[in-house]
Symmetry: C2
Subunit: 430 residues, 2 copies
Amino acid sequence: MARPDLRPHLVIVGGGFGGLYAARALAGRPVRVTLLDRRNHHLFQPLLYQVATAVLNPSDIAVPLRSILRGASNVTVFLANVERVDLAGRRVVLDRGEIAYDVLILAAGASHSYFGHDDWELLAPGLKTLEDALEIRRRVLLAYEAAERERDGAEQEALLTFVVVGGGPTGVELAGALGEISRQTITRDFRLIDPSRARIVLVEGAPRILTAFPESLSRAARDALQRIGVEVRTGVTVTRVTTDAVWLGGEQIRARTVLWAAGVAAAPLARTLGTPLDRSGRVLVEPDLSIPGHPEAFAIGDVCACLHQTGAPLPGVAPVAIQQGRAVADNVLRRVGGQPTRPFRYRDQGSMATIGRAAAVAVVGRFKLSGLVAWLAWLLVHIMFLIGFRNRLLVLFEWAWAYVTWHRGARLITGPWRGRGSGDASGQGL
Amino acid sequence: MARPDLRPHLVIVGGGFGGLYAARALAGRPVRVTLLDRRNHHLFQPLLYQVATAVLNPSDIAVPLRSILRGASNVTVFLANVERVDLAGRRVVLDRGEIAYDVLILAAGASHSYFGHDDWELLAPGLKTLEDALEIRRRVLLAYEAAERERDGAEQEALLTFVVVGGGPTGVELAGALGEISRQTITRDFRLIDPSRARIVLVEGAPRILTAFPESLSRAARDALQRIGVEVRTGVTVTRVTTDAVWLGGEQIRARTVLWAAGVAAAPLARTLGTPLDRSGRVLVEPDLSIPGHPEAFAIGDVCACLHQTGAPLPGVAPVAIQQGRAVADNVLRRVGGQPTRPFRYRDQGSMATIGRAAAVAVVGRFKLSGLVAWLAWLLVHIMFLIGFRNRLLVLFEWAWAYVTWHRGARLITGPWRGRGSGDASGQGL
């Protein structure tokens, strides 16, 4: 790539919350920024489960990075696949070509971990990208379609059984939405099956779901899930997944649709650094978020293992990535200006998870909220937070419509027809 | 499939305009209806080009067939691939199983014809399904992304050249939208290329575009296209398509993105009937839309070759299919009731095509309209026509927003990264 000026060249890898907020914080500052991402869009991941469950459209929660950064004339966006980072040579190697940097911010994110069973990925898709969300939507809707055509009772039951693995916020949100779809959205759409008979099972290895929340809120979430028909199974782990069943130890659950919302594995790019990683493959960083031995390279967001000032590990959530993005931008400018960097300090603004219609749990400072109040708080925070005015309005409209009518507007199946609802993750999204 | 009652069993193949309007006309009538479609949704095809050009979301123009027919308790919808029709045995053979019928309505539609060059399909995708629209959107947006990264001048030019083959309404709409994208939507989004330098070529074999319209409107459309930077080439045919060029006889146009909007080929299912077809593979039908020799089987919409009462062939547009769907439902009820069927008569309500912002052409009775008036007429007709209240509101919002801001909200690229923008049609949609 041409390097026409003498400003330091900063390369940011990844346009998620961390990378994007770093780029925004550096707009108009005396650095030349190149933002690299495999996608052309920033994704508002906290609402991804709503695309997977047919409430929202992809473009409601995704905005082209170019649009967001249109006004930042010192930022260039390239759609590119970064294959490795050469820390010693200060360059990133792309699918085609390479780019030299003066300063690097690695914000490549993470995906789910299948705990050594990578072959389960095709059988039980996770939820990290728009394609994942559309694949999940396709599988769930196809399962009902296939059940309507199926005459074999046992097979019909397997088609109407949905297992969600992982009782964190994503798993809880997915299971809750699946419960609402079966009990409310599509009850009158079928002639030969009763969708409200569908079985939805949420599996969590720990003794309770939402382990990051206080115990009373875990209980509230469990109760709310059970009210909308979700079976909550805690203290059990998945030992085997096949095309038509999940094993919990000796117990077999026949299910055609299994969704994965457990574990964390940092982006494989982290392994190319050659610096120490944690068990999940995340980059261990200094308090100022730089990579040990490389003061010109930083790692932020889900790809890094960063400790809270109290010594506890920081969770892989958007607020952490955003704060790190801003902090690292500040540290980059300090380093460029010859000043010492500052350690990153996390300001905890609370955490929340939704279960379904008018049901959520939230911790804000000393307050523990559940039910309608928590849900309203969740709604407010997510609307305020969505990047882009247009999306905010549209999402509000979609939500209001879904709330009043129980409809889910984006209930479309696309991709090649294969006659059966599962066992193949190569499908096309929508 | 179980057959629990004695009402005649009507099978409709295809949930497009023809099949859906037939099913709706038969709701609550003394027949048992099974509607088969490969997709779970009805598609409002006249607006498909707006999904391809990133104005609308898939769910704005597609509604699940089950939702539309929810209240029609005598209609069962199956997601199924019909492999052949056995007219003698009165059954349709599916990907899995078969269904017997008393009466058949074949409404399987059509796709584009590559005039014997089926290998061009991968190089120059057509626009018939949501997947097609998303693939076209992906290719167009990826071409700009690849051009931003490309340092070779000739290759950059090929990436910024878009060829649309076929000067009918779809081709004109696509070319117009591509012109607006390059000249307005993304002009400020790139740092290294100037999107408004993009070359958009519309190719038509006939001496003028929009041949179904009066000559004065063809001229108006051509002028409007040229005003937004589209090169209109008439009287030339495409003789060769490769991954990076299109040949018009001896002339080569280097282009990475070629879109196909020419020709008509009826659904391959028509060939399994064993009855006479026309050159485009369409089923020749009797005046009452029944298949010759099979008074219990009908064909409607794009899959049939039907003549206007004046003897002229009917165009493959939504109003024809809708009127045929209603007429065939009436004829089915007449046959069930022992009455003679009636010949189909088409009531021409006019035709229209848009070129871009505030530019369209329309023929309504004796009136020829162009410019803003035609565009407003187009807007009104399409909004009124969209099935489903929710979609109508949302589409209106998207359009108003796009009109005021020039933004295109659905500007997302999804699917696997391949580093280059073309030459492979296996991509995933969004």
